[in-house]
Point group: C2
Chain length 486, copies 2
Amino acid sequence: MGPRAFLLLLLSFLAPWATKALRPALRALGSLHLPTNPTSLPAVAKNYSVLYFQQKVDHFGFNTVKTFNQRYLVADKYWKKNGGSILFYTGNEGDIIWFCNNTVYFYYDNLEEMFCSVYDQALLFLIDSRHLNFLTSEQALADFAELIKHLKRTIPGAENQPVIAIGGSYGGMLAAWFRMKYPHMAVGALAASAPIWQFEDLVPCGVFMKIVTTDFRKSGPHCSESIRRSWDAINRLSNTGSGLQWLTGALHLCSPLTSQDIQHLKDWISETWVNLAMVDYPYVSNFLQPLPAWPIKVVCQYLKNPNVSDSLLLQNIFQALNVYYNYSGQVKCLNISETATSSLGTLGWSYQACTEVVMPFCTNGVDDMFEPHSWNLKELSDECFEQWGVRPRPSWITTMYGGKNISSHTNIVFSNGELDPWSGGGVTKDITDTLVAVTISEGAHHLDLRAKNALDPTSVLLARALEVRHMKNWIRDFYDRAGKQH
Amino acid sequence: MGPRAFLLLLLSFLAPWATKALRPALRALGSLHLPTNPTSLPAVAKNYSVLYFQQKVDHFGFNTVKTFNQRYLVADKYWKKNGGSILFYTGNEGDIIWFCNNTVYFYYDNLEEMFCSVYDQALLFLIDSRHLNFLTSEQALADFAELIKHLKRTIPGAENQPVIAIGGSYGGMLAAWFRMKYPHMAVGALAASAPIWQFEDLVPCGVFMKIVTTDFRKSGPHCSESIRRSWDAINRLSNTGSGLQWLTGALHLCSPLTSQDIQHLKDWISETWVNLAMVDYPYVSNFLQPLPAWPIKVVCQYLKNPNVSDSLLLQNIFQALNVYYNYSGQVKCLNISETATSSLGTLGWSYQACTEVVMPFCTNGVDDMFEPHSWNLKELSDECFEQWGVRPRPSWITTMYGGKNISSHTNIVFSNGELDPWSGGGVTKDITDTLVAVTISEGAHHLDLRAKNALDPTSVLLARALEVRHMKNWIRDFYDRAGKQH
């Protein structure tokens, strides 16, 4: 990994035309799982209505009266108007429809209602960059609060029902934070794969890439070792013009490599391994890319032997990359300017990562299979200032949401998959009786939120059952309290 | 009370030169207890250091990097560096030094440390009106959080000590809200005379003036009835030029009354009764004005007979007003442009009352001793827009802080004096075991926060003992938990 690789999760795709500036490695760490093609919706998409709410651009100041049309989805097919409940999906940094189609179906079958809310905020604010200043988690939580009030005011039967916040990844952080900051609005929250501790020094900065490495190490003999050795092989091969030419061909790249591209190439490959760790699901899926079941195992079949020549190692690396980029067999060449994510969501996320969502990452090449790279806040800050005219406030999220000191809150389930690199920054041990951790040993990034699948491992079935039990308890407690008051 | 009297608590003193626009009645409802002369500090003032902290102007946006020097006070004479605790006084809308001199001395004697923080925000932001947009409770709470982090970082010994938020009136609301929103920063809060429910329809809009009336009714025979009758007497007398001239003389006013001044005169008198209800303390005091012990009783000695002629009734009213405005005997004439409060704090408060701190008040002349006046949000909104270019968001405080639905929070003591009209919007019954109400039967506006006095009634002594017991429990629990973690 290059000296500025960790920065790239923030700044990639800001200038996709500028090959020199383009360093997408670990972009996915920031902007999670945006689809290649968000318009390819599964049939299940028809189960909800798409609605709009006039949302304030700024909840915390009164100078502006501007509003935007916040899109939200309502699915009420199975909703009980009497004695039911409201599942409020706290949307993420990208397209709400795509997110809804990829998540929360399980709960839809098990409880009485679902509303999907959207973090379209990001999309809309980017259209008018004067609004970027309001693209913050605090504004998003206030959006949720205002929208819930609106739903309760306008949907007959909803007014006196309990709301449960549900979200995954960044949306999982929002769900947890919403319960913390607006407990009067949500009786509890399911925060799936929510790395609420991936800030400041709450967890070691290396934990994320260490988990990625473990996934590869456990998925095939010598797999992580092969990858660890590949960086030097690339460095050696790229020393000569003929080596660069050979690499271009061996990796089936769409554009010829120059020596300036090498760092970018390594970042792109690193990001591919990171993405695979996030989507290492037990069945065929299409989250970031169309992929086979247990994709890392498939990848690792090509990476069994680290002790081969540089050229053979890189040919094997290509086969491994090809699993990720060309599972469909339709791709003619690999484009190191693309991984899986290309959307305004990424751009919005890069702004957030330059302001409040400042997540330190690092590698040392020993505990992980990547080139060593330390966390450099100064560098991030300068790049952010150059790009957006803002500087990050790395301690603000901890000040605002409490860091590890959250035991006074209640009714939050934090679920994490052990395969998911984001679990390193997540809550994986119970904090109190009502702030509980659910661990899914065979789970990647919020597997629990995905639709039911015949190949679901036992660990995720148990996790879902536990999550639903907690939710039902919150709902029961809500109605018990309401009953006592009447 | 005139048709727009309730508005005046917001907009008075904005244009003190414009006699026509000047309607100070009930101003005190908004801007509580600012001193006539905030520089007259008691000797006890020397017990603290005055320090400054570079505070962000905007915690919730990243476009501006502006800061201001937030003044704060530290009193650490009795502080235990080892095993002690930090009392964090959440300042109000006005001068922190004056507020500190009038409050929290009792606790200073009983616990190990006190810090005073300031809501100088208001004062500073008014100097540069471009910053008014950031004059909100949310920014104030974030100020507190950043300041506490700063204190813990810079004062050896403070880092691992529990913080308790203490405040009175608006500062009491901030103390309660701080515990609600930043429970990781404060183990508990004492919210004295904090009308957190004086919003929307959480309490009847008439409750405030009803309590004012009760205070007068109970302080002397026919006292409230005399005041109730005085409005019509003023109306009748002011019908003629000679009546106006007579009134000017009878009330010893500094400037001759015109018929345009009559509403303002009645508002000014109403506000005087309101102020007296807030400061009806059992001993000689100088909070809003120098006053005798139980000042309403003294006032009511002049108001025993409602069934007298208009002129005699108004002469009696003058005697009553004179208790408030001229207890020192030094005042030559009464100025209906002044009550007790004249400070930038009032101006800042009027902005806040035009944005988020929207408190409905009303009178009906039956349950209270004032002229009937209904709550008119539309009128308020238009006046606010004219004055500040902003419109109030009356439901925002409830959305943000939960209204009556706050039972999931813990460790807040809400204290209220039964004589204090603000108790009508306060929490006067226990919500849970750890959200408790302390009622002071003989207390006016946060009597419990005032310095000890030989004439303190038993009810306030008991209240303070109870408050301190809760605080000590919070501190003990904090150290118990800390001990278990090591």
